[in-house]
């Protein structure tokens, strides 16, 4: 069953996707699935472990369940400071 998800891309991911946010309809169960299914959008060849994800503005693990209507934020490797 497909879920309607809002995906937000940041930094290099956004530049690759050419948009900062889009609505997608995907048959996924968790955040990691979203990342994998949208590789052609964010363009990342980084392993999942180097990247981070937030669901509805809360930092999450890659195996966090994604529900219909959720917003998934895909974060490339961070580099603050």
């Amino acid at each position: 069953m497909k879920k309607n998800i809002t995906v937000r891309y940041f930094a290099g991911f956004r530049e690759h996707a050419g948009v900062s946010e889009e609505e997608v309809s995907l048959a996924v169960s968790n955040a990691g699935d979203v990342f994998e299914r949208l590789k052609h959008r964010h363009g990342s060849e980084e392993p999942l472990g180097h990247c981070k994800v937030a669901v509805n503005d809360e930092m999450a693990d890659w195996d966090a369940v994604v529900n219909d209507g959720d917003t998934v934020l895909l974060f490339p490797p961070v580099a603050g400071g």
């Binding site: 690759h16 363009g43 060849e45 990247c51 490339p76 490797p77 603050g80 400071g81």
Partner: protein, 150 residues
């Protein structure tokens, strides 16, 4: 925890950490260097996702207050375009004794660098630019395929 696009003034921020019981103040400032990984840097651009950066930063500070006997702590991180020499991040800690102030200040900046959704794009003197830490996720000649997701 504060994210700001305005200049950081550590001396002003320090005032909020003053305490009659404080014997130690340790601060860290991250400045924009003129080179990185052998390339000459012209300027830097910080992208910050503020809602999560602030929430995570507050968790980092709360964690430090739990780990160490501190009096006051704060952290401010810049967003936007920064020039060489600009202060990108400031961490200030006060405590009764210096040991915990050093440990906590170090702990906070280490955590901030790996946990907050902040990215920096280095603009090089040679003309190109790169997202730091992300060799394999931002290609220079990337294309912008139209969304064809189903």
């Amino acid at each position: 925890m504060l994210i700001t696009s305005a200049t950081i003034y550590p001396e002003e921020l320090k005032k909020n950490l003053i305490d009659r019981g404080a014997g130690a103040y340790v601060s860290f400032e991250g400045w924009i260097r003129d080179q990185n990984d052998g390339q000459e840097v012209l300027r830097l651009e910080y992208e910050v996702y503020e809602p999560v950066a602030v929430a995570e930063g507050k968790k980092v500070i709360a964690g430090a207050m739990q780990k160490f006997p501190l009096l006051h702590v704060n952290c401010v991180h810049r967003s936007g375009l920064l020039e060489i020499g600009d202060c990108a991040v400031w961490v200030g800690v006060t405590s009764a004794h210096r040991d915990e102030a050093f440990s906590a200040c170090r702990y906070i900046i280490d955590q901030v660098k790996v946990r907050l959704p902040i990215w920096k794009k280095e603009h090089y003197v040679a003309g190109h630019s790169d997202w730091v830490n992300c060799e394999r996720c931002a290609t220079h000649d990337h294309q912008h395929p139209q969304a064809s997701v189903s």
